[in-house]
Amino acid sequence: MPEMDRRSLLKMGAAAIAGTVIGNGVTLYTSPARAEEGGGPPGAAATNALEIPSKGKARWGMVIDNNKCTAQCTACTAACRTENNVPLFGDERYDGHWIRKVTLTPERGGPEKHLPLLCNHCDQPPCQHVCPVAATFTRHDGIVMIDKHRCIGCRYCMIACPYKARTFVFKETSEWTNKDVPKRAHGVVEKCTFCAHLIDQGKIPACVEACNKSGEGAMIFGDLNNPGSAIVKYIRAVATKGIREDLGLEPKVSYTGI
């Protein structure tokens, strides 16, 4: 199929860009996990296949080792845009962001940190709490999703989300980059789905796949309920922290090194 060719081509392009980055990338800290496992990136242990437990048993989560994440690498964001048709209008006021790279500069001085931000798929999602029409819901596997067939575009969820994880479709978007996945009409709110359509097929999210393949291997995705999964092993070995855990929303995305 021609669209498949285009997709793999895009991914190859992303890989080529990331390849040059790896050469210049400076790893500021040695990750404890890396030391423990003898230098092999823990993310690489994960294959692109997922073990899908029976319904209601899984609780998908993500750990991002931002010691590995470098400034220039955009593998995850590019892969996400391609996979999910996330629109880029060239106007930062309206661009959609399902996953975005940010730079953290410590106010008291020190090295900069780079990390991707995405929907944290909270166990207690305030966006779902405030949605008047129950368009936002939590799937049986813990993924917080928006039913765009039902969203009325009131944008209350964007007000309630403390992570700025949601964007509104301000304009009509252009063509599909991935025709297997729907794009969206203007007037609805959208956000990261953990690539639920891929998970249902037993694949890992596009950003994680891209990070493993052409990025730094900084993202680990897996089942938080499965004690044998790479992500649970990692969390047990390394101190991780969610963003704004003080709000008590119990995010399923956590970071090391912030």
Binding site: L104, E107, G153, I159, P162, F168, F170, V189
Partner: protein, 398 residues
């Protein structure tokens, strides 16, 4: 309590001035509908809203109109519930205005949706935990109560009027607490999260509603050449002064609470001192026009008794409360959310920066259009229904 018979009639409504007013209001409302249709057709990039400021002027207007509505209705109910018969002449006008203003507010909210064509979705898929859907129910029942209340007044069902008047006051308090809760219950944003928002919404509703009622009453009576007792306006002015004081107290407490905690210095500095245009709107619009100047005017014996000055104070309050609504809705979004304490954050999604909100012509037309539509319906209702008393006189006048 002496039963004062008030005769309600329709207004003449045949003068060129009346038809000019109706035509101007009608055209403005068409402009409002056009702008909302454009937003629906092309998307919200036509407005000043962005991904960082998802709620713009339409929400400000919705909250503002709800406030005016609740205030008007409470005044209307004063006559039936608390037996203040001197307010009976206002009962119909203010109940009508309350219903129309809430219809306007509901239109502001719904036409501001990204998908107003999905108006039926809330009827079959509803999340009862959402403050928005709870308010939706409160608003629609409130409009219903207003109309039944009007019907009861028209048909002189005194017992029902009393019961409905009581229900209406209770409901207006609920409606306003609910509206405040839309913002106050959001834990993610420092400038929203406050249990004081519901009561301060009620207080601001009463002050702005009373002020609007003074202006509308005066205008209605003046234009139709009817006799309006000065005592009534003065009494309303007195109420207005009391309501302003309550608002001022709540605003004071809220800001002092926030300012006292060192962790909030950055937020409060932004809002009160260095937020440039927002501080300006806060001090001149909200505090100056909404609270300080009108209170000085009303409390000063020299000006507080003068009808002209009371009208000036009312106009100031009506503007000032709009500024207050703006200050509640907008700066809470402009202020960046603190995701990583101790770090400065930079990223492609306008991260870590103050995002300015610019009022677009589209939104101004939208807000003005819906407001005009409310008064368009008001002007027509006065012509067709026996809303307006022959004369409105206070106790002394009878």
């Amino acid at each position: 309590m002496a039963n004062i018979k008030t005769k309600f009639t329709v207004i003449e409504g045949n003068s060129a001035g009346y038809w000019l007013l109706v035509a101007v209001l009608g055209l403005l409302s068409l402009g409002g509908f056009w702008s909302s249709y454009m937003m629906f057709l092309h998307g919200h990039y036509m407005t000043g809203m962005t991904n960082a400021i998802p709620w713009g002027f339409p929400i400000v207007m919705a909250v503002y109109l709800i406030g005016l509505s609740a205030g008007s209705l409470v005044l209307s109910a004063l006559s039936s519930v608390f037996g203040r018969t001197e307010f009976k002449p206002l009962a119909r006008i203010s109940a009508l205005l309350a219903a129309l203003l809430l219809i306007g507010a509901l239109m502001c909210i719904i036409l501001d949706w990204g998908r107003p064509d999905r108006i039926l979705v809330p009827f079959y898929s509803m999340n009862p935990r959402s403050m928005f859907s709870l308010n939706g129910m409160l608003y629609s029942t409130y409009i219903g109560i207003c109309f039944v209340y009007l019907w009861a007044m028209f048909n002189h069902k005194e017992k029902l009027v009393k019961l409905l008047g009581f229900t209406a006051v209770f409901w207006a308090v609920l409606v306003h607490s609910g509206t405040g809760a839309i913002f106050g219950f959001v834990g993610a944003r420092e400038l929203y999260h406050s249990p004081l928002l519901p009561p301060s919404f009620i207080a601001a509703a009463l002050s702005s509603g009373t002020a609007l009622m003074i202006l509308v009453l005066y205008a209605t009576f003046k234009f139709t050449g009817r006799q309006l007792d000065d005592g009534l306006i003065r009494r309303l002015g007195l109420y207005l002064a009391v309501f302003i004081a309550v608002v001022a107290y709540l605003v004071f407490i809220e800001n002092v609470t926030r300012s006292y905690w060192p962790g909030n210095y950055a937020v409060q500095k932004f809002l009160l001192l260095f937020g440039n245009k927002y501080s300006l709107i806060f001090w001149i619009g909200m505090i100056g026009c909404g609270l300080l100047f009108p209170f000085i005017i009303l409390a000063n014996p020299a000006t507080g008794k003068s009808i002209g000055w009371i009208l000036v104070a009312s106009a100031l309050v009506v503007i000032g409360v709009l500024a207050e609504r703006y200050i509640i809705v907008i700066p809470g979004q402009v202020m960046p959310m603190e995701m990583f304490p101790g770090y400065h954050i930079a990223g492609p999604f306008q991260d870590g920066r103050m995002i300015d909100y610019y009022l677009s012509p589209m939104e101004i037309l939208f807000g003005a259009g819906i407001t005009a539509f409310v008064f368009f319906l008001y002007a027509l209702s006065l012509k067709f229904f026996e809303m307006t008393p022959d004369k409105a006189a206070g106790e002394s006048g009878n």
